[in-house]
Amino acid sequence: MKLILLIILSLIVLSVPKASLPICNIDTAKQAIPPRIFAEIAIDDNDQNVIFTRIVHNKTGIFMSEFSRCYFDVFDFNYLYRQLTIVGLLGLLLFVYKAVTLKRFSIIIIFLLLPLIPFFLLPEVILILVLKIFAVIGILYFIFL
């Protein structure tokens, strides 16, 4: 019975149509730098100190801000819900919870590095597959342990 339940829930998680991430990667992050710097500097006072302007509106800062945006897109719970269904999302949360309580910190690090896949233009399907596998493991934990 438990096995049938696992198979059904896993099939639900694995078979839902894939939801796409917003287009956000290393290229878009680089492209965003000049217009953002221009827009931000345009708001500043004309007599603002140049060094200060460079500190608060610089390429590295804007690139990191764009990188964060792309990175966090993957951990948007609405995206994960569309990608995995509610069952899968709960499975994924349980998986992370178990990884923490069992102190499997290498798995947590892998989980936290997942958003780098779409950022570096690697196929998004890799990310989706890993997320789904983690979610199914979470469901497995829920049913059997």
């Binding site: 708001i43 200060f52 500190i55 945006r69 948007d76 719970f77 609405n78």
Partner: protein, 500 residues
Amino acid sequence: MKYFLSKNFWLLVIIVLAFVLRFYQLGLNPPHLNWDEASNAYNAYSILKTGNDEYGNFMPTLFKSFGDYNMALSVYPIVPSIAIFGLNQFAVRLPSALFGIVFVIFTYLLALKLFKSRFIALFAAFFIAISPWHLQFSRYDHEANFMQTFILIGLTAYFYLNKKITGLLALMLFFGLALNSYHGAKVWVPLLLLFLFIFDFKKIIKFKFKLLLPAFVFLFFALPIILNFQNSLIRGQSVGIAGQKQPLLTFFSGYLSHYNPNFLFTNGDSIGRHAVSGMGELYIFEFPLIVLGIVSVIASGQRRQKFLLGWLLLAAIPAALATPTPHALRAITFLPLWEIFAAVGVYCIKNAKISLVVKTAIFICFILIGLYNFITYLHLYYSHYPRQRAVDWQDGHRQVFEYIKKHEKEYSSIAISSYYGHPYIFTLFYMAYDPKTYQGNKNGQNGFGKFEFFSDTWSKTVPGTALVVTPFWQAHPPKVLEQVYSSDRDLRFIISKTEQ
């Protein structure tokens, strides 16, 4: 005294920092009072002068305001401030800033009680003192800030005294005050109480019949809502999800959106009054600390600390029951959770079994990134924010009334466009209009005394010269007296006058 000062030196430093960040340019930035602040302030002024609100109701427990029936404590805390400092922007915002400082102190006390670590408590207080989320709402008058401060005081009192019935009494007293502060409290307070009751069921149930006393206290504070039940539902009905096509799905999606790291760390709330553009609600350097903090609390297995996890899961519910989402104001229920988790994260790094060199390098990285985030925030708040969000704060009205005050006597009537919304309340506030005279008006929102408010077109009804205030693009008399610019350097109003 000397012992107290030396023992609490860092806490005092944090309180001073919180004070400076909340009081510097308090009356000037945000650049203008929004209409809710003006409404609360004028009602407080009206209470001070006459004991009645703007509609002539004596000491009401719900304020009709713009028809949304605000809770009593959205107005009464401002009364003493206006009595001391007069009817001005600083006086309106002063109570909120003071509540903000109290919030920092109680964050320290709560974290100290839950974690029994002064280190964690100090960092939690420090993070809330500099939090963009908390600073935003303690630098303008909003009752949500009052609500969350009462909640925090109540919880702290409960955790310090929870072996005695006095703990529950204090909890009910402050939760009762919170209930009378903000609309969202009608969901948040019962929800948190229920959770606390389940969480500490064994402890609470031991009080048996003594429980009647705190229940009575809570019921007493709930009376204004019970007695005005229809009116107290109005605001909830206008923003609630019940009218949506798929309310359950809207709720679920809204609930999840409050945990979206992009909302928390990079984008923030899109509503101009709720956040600074280009920043999240939290600093990005806090992200790894919060992850570490949550992981540590889960792994610790400490029951008291797990209370925070329950709070974390519940905090988005009040905000998810309304639209739009994510909503930083309604999600103020999250504070000071994120900051406490971040403080636990710092503690984890401090106690990590890694070499001192690596640890120092990690701390230096955090300090540098944190400093960069903080400086950027201050720059965005003090330099960009007034220029980007002037419209959200209805900027321009103050400048208009500064002109009107000087020239009022020269005109037989003054007509003001209502394009930017509720000009009557700005007129009452900035002209410090006598509440007693105003309360006699049955239709004050359309005009009173010399003042008339119009939407599309205006035609003269009173003989003599009239002063007309319109947005720059709206038809106005040809004789222009003044052009009014707002902090975003845009032309906001044209002041003109008619021929005799």
